[in-house]
């Protein structure tokens, strides 16, 4: 594997060069993006400046026949949090990049002038072309244009207008199996950094390349088979997610009183059944869409789908739980069609749906629109796409919007909006929101393998005081999983079925010829977190930033009327290992 570096500020125009992995050998995904950013990006640099770098890295198993191995990580210094960032996505490009032999693409330097570039990569090399006709195109139109130029078998990594305007909520889009721009590295404003590098789209063509060969094909194939069997037999990965997608969570989180509603004022949304995964799947099926679909080839869980309008025309991919919550329940919108349109607009403009949902919730609290008004939300989002003054405020996220509009209840940590679980209801998640190196991030402590690995000791699940320890373990395990290119949803089967966890380790060992154990995975996770923490410290983020907003400690959340109760001194212990 090799690293492709593209200096966007080189004399005479952008220049590409390939490098061996060197000191980054053996790393992939988040481990690689964070290692490169930590080593090469000055922590105090401006996120849009020439010194920042955007690193796009497939996972360790991407480009292989391993099931679920299509995740890609995007890293940089975040314009939203001011710290290190890793956002990841599904889609086709991860597999394609890996098959072309690239462990990472690094966009570096600062472009001269205002040219906008497209980068074409295939087995013969790299071609970088200025193309002003791409300026301010939405991701969907851009995709159609690229199809005409390069055919329908390429993968695209792109930004929409939000990225070009360097908005802090801007995402990087990755195309799915239908070459639609529906998979996003959404969090932290990574799209703004790509925009600052002057890159509109990276077109990847892996024609003529084959799957990456494992060191021990026999063991690898056997492990893959066991891994797939484990995923298929588990009720979450084999039944729940394929049938309903991640939005299956809406009813349950709502019933538990932890579903943030009306900009985090309530813990229940009375109309949640209208936007639940169950209702969404039935709507899709009745209209001729799809309730079960993968986001990349090699996905066996198939938690996505196709959402169509009443006449059966494609609108967007199946909006996932976080999106339906952010643009739905958080804004008291109970109309799946409105939510689907908002999702489509976010994908087209290149925006993080969580950040935009939280932002619209804050704007509604400020009186810019009425809670529950889907059309008003669509109009606000269109302002972002147009780049009006209002749109530029909204496109910079909930923290900026709250400050400009004078709203006190702004649900962010380190400037990044909270996802769809109220930390007053499920307090352990609040520990992760507060202390994650990434800002408020539900996936930072997602890998529920923690007790299987027993990282940092076994935690008694019934003791409330285990929340800090558990969050630590989860963050360590997740950092490691984020490096494999594996979809985090594998974690459920791995949690319950030790043989499936072993199959995952066997996949890595058979592919690379390693003898990795659970301890090795733990060490990798710890190393990543340590690297990221050190970067953040140098960037000016300290323990005081590892806190939830004040209102979570002061405003009791109905129906359980709880406040967040984990003490600051306990939060400060999360990274003591």
């Amino acid at each position: 594997m090799k690293i492709l570096r593209i200096n966007m500020g080189a004399e005479g125009g952008p220049k590409a060069r390939e490098e061996p992995m060197g000191e980054f050998e053996g790393l992939g995904g988040r481990a690689l993006t964070s290692a490169i950013v930590a080593k090469e990006v000055p922590p105090l640099c401006h996120p849009w400046g020439a010194d920042n770098k955007l690193v796009i890295a497939p996972g360790l198993l991407s480009g292989t026949t391993a099931a679920m191995s299509g995740r890609v990580s995007v890293g940089c210094k975040s314009p939203l949090t001011g710290g290190i960032k890793e956002a990841n996505a599904g889609g086709q490009p991860s597999q394609m990049l890996a098959r072309l032999g690239y462990a990472a693409i690094v966009l570096e330097g600062g472009p001269k002038g205002d040219k906008l570039y497209k980068i074409f990569i295939n087995k013969d090399g790299v071609k970088i072309t200025a193309d002003q006709s791409l300026k301010m195109l939405g991701n969907y139109d851009l995709g159609e244009k690229m199809k005409k130029e390069y055919g329908e078998k390429v993968g695209l990594v792109s930004i929409g207008p939000a990225g070009e305007m360097k908005m802090s909520a801007a995402s990087v889009a990755f195309t799915d199996m239908e070459m639609r721009p529906t998979r996003h590295a959404g969090r932290g404003g990574v799209g703004a950094v790509m925009g600052a590098k002057g890159v509109k789209v990276i077109v990847i063509d892996d024609t003529g390349m084959s799957m990456r060969p494992p060191k021990d094909a026999q063991k690898f194939n056997a492990a893959n088979q066991k891994f797939i069997e484990g995923l298929k037999k588990h009720p979450v990965t084999g039944q729940g997610l394929p049938a309903y997608g991640t939005n299956v969570l809406t009813n349950v989180i709502n019933e538990a009183g932890a579903y943030p509603t009306k900009n985090f004022m309530w813990g229940r949304f009375p109309a949640c059944q209208k936007i639940s995964g169950e209702t969404q799947a039935e709507t899709e099926t009745a209209r001729g869409g799809l309730a079960t679909h993968g986001c990349h080839r090699g996905c066996t869980i198939q938690c996505s789908g196709i959402y169509t309008d009443k006449d059966g025309h494609y609108v967007t991919k199946q909006p996932e739980y976080e999106t339906v919550w952010a643009l739905g329940g958080n804004c008291e919108i109970d109309d799946l069609d409105a939510i689907a349109m908002l999702d489509r607009l976010c994908d087209d403009y290149g925006l993080d749906t969580i950040e935009m949902g939280a932002t619209i919730g804050v704007a509604m609290e400020a009186g810019l629109a009425k809670f529950g008004d889907g059309q008003a939300s669509i109009n606000l989002l269109k302002e972002v796409g147009k780049g009006s003054y209002l749109g530029r405020i909204l496109g910079n996220g909930a923290a900026v919007t709250g400050k400009v509009l004078g709203v006190e209840r702004v649900p962010v940590v380190k400037g990044q909006a909270l996802p769809a679980y109220d930390p007053r209801g499920i307090q352990g998640i609040g520990v992760t929101y507060a202390t994650s190196t990434q800002g408020a991030d539900h996936t930072a402590g997602y890998a529920v393998t923690a007790n299987v690995l027993k990282v940092g000791g076994f935690v008694d699940p019934l003791k409330p005081e285990g929340q800090v320890e558990l969050s630590r373990n989860l963050q360590i395990a997740t950092a490691a999983i984020d490096s494999t290119g594996m979809c985090l949803f594998i974690a459920f089967a791995v949690l319950d079925q030790p043989e499936t966890f072993q199959a995952l380790i066997d996949l890595l060992n058979a592919f690379y010829g390693l003898n990795l154990t659970g301890d090795g995975v733990t060490d990798l996770g710890k190393k990543i977190l340590k690297t990221e923490r050190e970067f953040n410290k140098k960037a000016g983020l300290s323990a005081e930033h590892d806190r939830l907003p004040d209102f979570f400690m002061k405003e009791p959340l109905p129906p359980h009327n709880l406040t967040f109760q984990v003490k600051d001194e306990d939060l400060d212990k999360v990274f003591n290992w």
Binding site: P235, V236, T279, G425, P464
Partner: protein, 217 residues
């Protein structure tokens, strides 16, 4: 104690429908938002599920992985007691960190310690008739939804009317027969809703005439 929600007998109208099996999704929203059933109050969750609802202990153990009683996550099905007015939500295992946290006896239970159901003391007479709200989610909809519909569920008039409004036009094609208070009724009479006027609550039972649905008992 919660105020009793058991309705007076004279305020209930019974409606029995016979439909095609493949129209079961019609009832999905209704089952998600909740319906009422009578129980013997003072019975633990497990007793109600197995003895009063007739679900097999194996099914309850293996498939109902997430239980919320009045919004609190239940780990101990024998310690959590159902009372008149309780709300019981039933779900399969859920994805995500929060989903895994809410799972019964899950490894991440400490994450939701503040909303864990801590069991009940019997400070009320057991055995009295009570009425609870039941909500059914996700995989369980297809599996045990038909069981409840066949046994019969109680719906507030407003909820029933909302349900009727949500029925698609092609409902007519799926409709086979109906009975109101044991008297045969046709679709036209049903849709006029005159029969509902004097009642506060509907006891709805449904038989599916087509191919058999998945059953949990």
């Amino acid at each position: 104690m919660t105020e009793s929600i058991v309705p007076e007998a004279h305020s209930i109208v019974t409606l029995h429908l016979i439909l095609l099996a493949d129209r079961f999704p019609l009832f999905s929203l209704l089952l998600q938002q909740g319906f009422r059933v009578k129980i013997q109050a003072g019975t633990p969750v497990k007793g109600v599920l197995c003895e009063q609802f007739g679900l097999s202990p194996e099914y309850v153990q293996d498939r109902i992985k997430t239980i919320l009683l009045d919004g609190k996550a239940v780990d101990d099905m024998d310690g959590a007691i159902l009372k008149d007015g309780s709300t019981l939500a039933l779900s399969g295992p859920m994805p995500g960190l929060a989903g895994a946290s809410l799972r019964r006896d899950g490894l991440l239970a400490s994450f939701r310690a503040q909303i864990t159901h801590r069991g009940d003391r019997m400070d009320f007479p057991p055995g009295a008739e009570g009425m609870i709200t039941v909500k059914i989610f996700n995989l369980l909809l297809d599996e045990i939804g038909p069981v409840f519909l066949q046994r019969g569920i109680y719906l507030r008039k407003r909820d029933f009317q909302d349900f009727c409004k949500s029925l698609p036009e092609k409902f007519q094609k799926e409709f086979r027969a109906a009975g109101v208070n044991s008297q045969k009724s046709d679709l036209e009479d049903l849709q006029k809703m005159d029969w509902l006027r004097k009642n506060d609550m509907v006891f709805l039972s449904v038989d599916f005439a087509g191919p058999s649905l998945k059953r949990a008992i």
